[in-house]
């Protein structure tokens, strides 16, 4: 399928405040609409982005988000990278468990957002912080 979407031009948004989390949601929504995700898929990817951007702010001490239109040869998708240089996640398996939180949240951010996207990749270390890449494909 050929569409007029601009492939491979990442759009960046720094995450330093509450308002930036709102901006991340708006940016992800705009890109999700441009690759023609269904309404439910738009809602899912924007919700996941909201959770992960908040994690970047609250647990990572701030960082950046990059949103890119990607194509796997058959479908377009939205890829979002959340990067921070915070303390990293000590026990990743535990952090991915529903209901576990090291902060005051509900413990659904990581585990829940993984369910809302098609691909979810996480790299974390105490030295270089946390980098989460998620992708949602159009159907």
């Amino acid at each position: 399928m050929t569409t007029g979407v601009d492939l491979g031009q990442p759009q960046a948004q720094s995450v330093r405040s509450d308002e930036d989390v709102v901006r991340v949601r708006q940016l992800v929504r705009a890109v999700a609409v441009s690759v023609k995700l269904s309404l439910v898929d738009q809602t899912k990817v924007v919700t996941a982005a909201s959770e992960l951007a908040r994690n970047t702010l609250v647990y990572g001490g701030g960082g950046s988000v990059e949103v890119t239109v990607v194509n796997n040869g058959r479908r377009n998708g939205v890829q979002i990278v959340f990067a921070d240089s915070g303390p990293g996640i000590a026990d990743l398996d535990l952090a991915m468990t529903d209901g576990y939180t090291s902060g005051g949240g509900l413990g659904l951010g990581l585990s829940g957002s993984r369910r809302l996207v098609d691909e979810f990749q996480i790299e974390t270390s105490a030295e270089s912080g946390t980098r989460i890449t998620v992708t949602k494909w159009s159907r």
């Binding site: 709102v22 708006q26 929504r29 309404l39 909201s50 809302l116």
Partner: protein
């Protein structure tokens, strides 16, 4: 920071969230609403989320907290107008919105609050031993 307006209609406080709230705005709404319940003595709170295109775990938790706070302050909370895509996403996210009553629209929300309040009044007046016991 933007604030969400709270309208009083009879015995009900109506909150229609029309903006993409920052977390601070959500927390402020919680506090403003608690204050307005005490100031007005209203017995019902309707939160209209028709305009919200997502409800993430933070907003979900805010809704649960508002419901609990209002309960303690003798007011019933009903969340109305959730979009289907939001409902689907909430369930997949794993959020159960514990303790929250929902209705499809404001009108039904108002009926629900009126019924709940009437039940409560019946229950309080109902002190005769032979009277039929109303099930809650």
């Amino acid at each position: 920071m933007e604030r969400v307006p709270i309208l009083k209609i009879g015995d009900i406080l109506l909150v229609s969230i029309q903006l993409d709230m920052s977390d601070q705005t959500a927390v402020a709404l919680q506090e403003d609403l608690a204050q307005r319940i005490v100031d007005t003595g209203c017995h019902g709170v309707i939160i209209d989320i028709t305009a919200l295109d997502i409800v993430d775990s933070f907003v979900g938790r805010m809704l649960s907290t508002i419901a609990s706070i209002s309960k303690v302050l003798d007011a019933e909370t009903v969340v109305v107008g959730m979009r289907p895509a939001v409902a689907i996403t909430l369930v997949e996210l794993g959020l159960s919105l514990n303790g929250i009553r929902t209705a499809l629209n404001v009108e039904r929300g108002m009926e629900l609050i009126a019924a709940a309040h009437a039940d409560e009044l019946d229950y309080q007046l109902d002190d005769e031993p032979d009277a039929e016991t109303a099930t809650p």
